[in-house]
Amino acid sequence: MKRIFILVTFVLGVTTVYGQDFFNKSKVTGSFQIDGNYYWEDEGIGITADKINGEKFGAYGFGKMQYQLGNFTAGMRFEAYQNTPMSGFDARIKGMGVANYFATYDNGTIGITVGDIYDQFGNGLIFRTYEEWTLGFDNSLRGIRAVYRPTEGVTLKGLYGKQRYYWASYTEERGYVRGIDGEWDLNQSISAWNNAKLKATLGASFVSKYEKGDNMEIYGMTYKVPENVGAYAGRVNLGYGRFGFSAEYAHKINDPSYFNNWIYRDGEELLASLSYSQKGLGIVLQAKRVDNMSFKSMRTASQNDLDIGFIPPLNYTHTHSLPSMFSYATQPNGEMGIQFQINYTIPKKTALGGKYGTKLAFNYSQVNDIKRDSIMANGEPTINLIGTKGYTSPFFAIGDKMFYRDFNFEIEKKISKDWHLTLMYINLYYDMETIEGHPGAEAVEAHFAFGEVIYKVNKKHSVRLELQHMWDNVSQDQEIDPVYEEYYVKRGNWFAFLLEYTIAPKWFISVADKYNYGNPIAENRDHYITGSFGYIKDQTRIAISGGRQSQGLVCVGGVCREVPASSGVALTITTSF
């Protein structure tokens, strides 16, 4: 808080000194979002009486302000997560205050930031700080960052600091993170290569964390652990006409932690993509391998927090309400995945393309475990035993266990001036046991059909109808062992619809339902009905919604946002200035 005052004092101080000139050149911008909720109890989605705890009214919101003066920018973000008995949130996020502030000077050659830093090295494999405010996620780094661009096409970065850990004080125990990154765009920096057909960018980074204490007591035994853990990564991006290739490799030294069961194995990760594209056709093939790459600034961190590195999931992000209930979560301890995607537009005025053209998309992705071979410890073959080197793993061998597989196909067609149609088929394999951490849970092998029709009543009025169905491998008649009942909350067949009426660019009203009619447990055969009504004026959006909302990405009223599970009535206001 004190630091904020220093900042404000200086802003005011300098304002007075420079007077008129200052006001002409400086600028204040910002944004607000407020979600007010009235909750009711709903065990089906995790809103229990216990969680509500008598606080039926809840509110969460943020206010962001930014001040800019030429090359100087300063900003802060106030956050409030009050009385939020919402599932999907870590309870430790409850609270309010100025969560974030920063000041930056950047003249294009040199840039310095002090305060809370969001940045990413390459694909973020060994360093990425970001925030998903609506999910209560923020791993920003409080410290200092310097960026130096000596010549065109070359960027060097260095940073140092400590990560945000909910509302914990920055003097509290957890590690320091420091990193450097360099990127070199050959075409921009070498004049003879400016117009070369081959485009090439190279990059490299090094990140290390320092966490005090080299003795760690784990289950009554004392282990020696490294205080410094270093990781490095190298990357290349190539483009040649219609072809593109990119790859990044990262390596981390041994980093025993709660997350990897305290093993002393090095970690590594490879991410590679190959693409071809021309007007109307795009093809991309991606592959990755992750082995023991959980990288956090506190060894004992057990939740989705204090991540230094980011492991990009390679799969299609489903936004329709039924398939998005089964979204893949990356497995930092080990996974191998591929993804293949084609986007194609059948040209206008052809037999298949019709008057407006037809858009097709196909996506295939699959993620398996890595193969782990046992090592000898205390004369016995073991895998992933505490205090050992864990296991060995052949780089190109794929593990037998499949975590996730998705293939989907989409056709999108404007049929006439007034009618627009989208159809999608999805085939999903979802290993609930691994992804949700429910040992013994039956994997989901489901088919989904999705259809959307938009009818334009006139230039501004439209009606949109969405229909979805999910066929699960768990049938309504299946006998469920009472021990595993909680793993069947979202199993069985589903039906969903959404009906929306919009008046561009300002008004929308919608009603939606998801119905788990085929759940094997009778009391789970429930409806999730929501209604929304809203108004948009320029950058301000006000929406009122009510009903039962399960957690996930919700696209309604013309925007998409990630929402936590809730039940009750909610008012959302978003604006910026």
Partner: protein, 164 residues
Amino acid sequence: MKKLLATLLFGMMFFGLSAQNKSDLPNITLKNLDGESVNIAELNNDGNPFVMTFWATWCGPCVKEHNALTEVYDEWVEETGVKIFAVSIDDARSTAKIKPFVDGKGWPFEILLDVNSELKRAMNVSNPPHTFLFDGDGKIVWQHTGYLDGGEEDLYQEILKISK
């Protein structure tokens, strides 16, 4: 530490003042689809108005908006000289997919990659899609959050107001 911070801040502001601040475009460098660095502060359209949209591959309304804009783009350019910069806020999971995605959809816009939401934060964008209209000097003259079918017409009226 505090003294150092205060000194740094003061220094930054002092230097900040000496620079010109003509437009509403922040000093942030993003990559385009050819991997080239583009300084956002230098974005322009030769004195003509330009549009900046924030979108993501996973955002249905964004895709709808860009499909609708694609259909009218040639006409708009001819009439007003406008240009559209479409800023993708997809993160590293999709970076390599953007070019094939955009080409496959046949979008004619200039794409910029905001992989860590740096520009999104600087422009105070909360949820995609979010569309800005800039005049020839890079000043924001209009903005809109969300896309409802037919919403592009409204944007066009705003462009007509400021195009010469």
